[in-house]
Amino acid sequence: MALKLAEKMLIHGDEALAVAMLDARVALGAGYPGTPSSEILETFSQIGGRGEWAPNEKVALEVALGAAFGGARAVAAMKHVGLNVAADPFFTAAYTGTAGALVVVSADDPGMASSQNEQDNRRYAEAAGAPMLEPADAQETYDFFFTALEIAERWRIPVLFRMTTRVCHSKSVVVRRGAPLPPPAYGFEHDRRGRVMVPGNARPAHRRLRAKLAEIAEWNEESGPNLEISGSRDLGIITSGVSFLHVREAAPEASVLKLGMTYPFPFRKIRAFAAGLKQIVVIEEGDPFLTTAIRANGLPAEGKAEMYRFGELSVERVRRILAGDASPEPAPPPGKPPQFCVGCPHRRTFEILGKMDLIVAGDIGCYTLGVLPPFNAMDSCVCMGASIGVGLGLRHVLPEDQARRVVSVIGDSTFAHSGLTGLAEMAYNPPKTGHVLLILDNGTTAMTGLQDHPGTGYTLGECATTRMDFEAVGRAMGMHKVHTVTQKDSAEDFERLLRDSLASNDLTLIVVRNPCLLAAKKLRARGRAAAEPPAAG
């Protein structure tokens, strides 16, 4: 259902953030699609905001930072592993600060519903020195966004807005504020000492950052978005994010301190809450982030058993933690695993790779499913873009007969995201046996819901733009051989081309171009639009 704006709506956390961005007059939202964050910018664009898909999260954060240097309110939105890609500018953005406001959204995925790891990005707030807010549901997502802007604008510091799968993808009722925020004043002012992080400028910048954080910690003590519910004196629970809702259902009688701002911590508030309570338990998903900090601050708070570090929390798991129950949990009933769509063009490629018994350095996307039976045709998958570097490393060290069986396989969106530098490495430090890279170009970012990227020639808002030509990029980067394979080429021809490429010492790029079935209708319509003469006038 397309989102219709109203005063009161039943919407996802992602949509709530987009509506908050609109109501807060965010000038620019940039990101890279990734479950569970993709709907933030899609919705923002759909309701009239300016949202962009950048080639990757690092670039998205840099674009948003530039907008914030110009005095605007800007958002960079990504999934948790995306912040690894963007970590480089993120850490230094905390030093430079901003003129306007920069909010960095990290959508974490505890339980790994669709991710390669379950890292807890609350660690990033502390590591980079960025204040962090953790909403529990859609209404808080909406409300906390304004708090994030308030902090970002008052202290000129990037704010980490940490959501989780169950906040992003759970719907609840959101009531909007009456009037949008007045827009900030835009305009560039030089601040070279503040923004050019050569060591001489960075040293004082680090001190400024720590001073800001001390002030923000003080603000958090008195005015932070933290909620205290007084209940039984026997049990006090400290919690944050969606865990708070599980806690209220599992232990309605307990006293609860819900921290909305979990970095920097409001330790005085925590101590005041704990005073006189018989037992203090910290309930948090993922790493013992709050537990460690609170215990290090001298409070005898109990955490959870190690087994609850894995996966999401739920009402029943919170009940177990409070009961001190660390007995094995009942195994979840087996569901049906995901698989390639019927008729997916990737199927043929992985049938061939599997049949030829190649060593496949894979990457992140729908095609990662090539690891599953019946294909069993992927040997590694680490992070976006890793297929090329990993494939090259294997080529460098394996005995020649094995090295000649190594191929790297990457999707089109992933190639634009972080395959380009891998390709530069491939040309720069070529293995003796050469190498073969397959770009599986299905014309879309299929895995996260059919988003556009620099290789599709369309923007997030469906406007035609420059299309990255993978074959031309391959030639420009120094590939010796560049081929294109489509469904029109027979499987035998495709297999022969692979065999010949593996036998040579060339650097070979093969673009396997077949549109994603789910996107085919949209892609065909665009083909027609491109073929039609422009309207007169």
Binding site: A113, S170, L245, P333, P334, G335, P338, C366
Partner: protein, 158 residues
Amino acid sequence: MEKTVNVKIAGLGGQGVIRASDILAETAFRAGLAVKKSELHGMSQRGGSVSSDVRFGREVLSPMIPAGESDYLVVVSSDQVENNLPSLKPGGVLIRPEMIDENALTNKKSLNVALLGALSTRLELPEALWLETIREAFKPELFEANANAFRLGRSAKE
């Protein structure tokens, strides 16, 4: 509605599980109830098992239904019944594809909405409100097929 009602909808990716749960949640929302809905999507669900939790009533806390506390379990694919049964509470109601005469569907893809029809006779939500949200959930040309599926579901036998 004193007590929170928990409905789990399950099936396979592409069967309209999320759409069905959106329609139910929106109907409860328009009936003036507190509602929360939780789901997972992304590649992990492509062609694989999908489920969505809808909870509504006077107050809803967690967006997820605690294990074994679903009042209703609606399953769009027969082969997904067994692995979802543990979510149903003792005495809870299972609504499954066998209750619908699929040959009577104008559009086979409307099985999800037919099952909502079967669910609707057990909930205190007005039929007109259901049809209103169904109308807004689909393109205009698909409304009749889905409205027919919903009515077919309402006359489904146990």
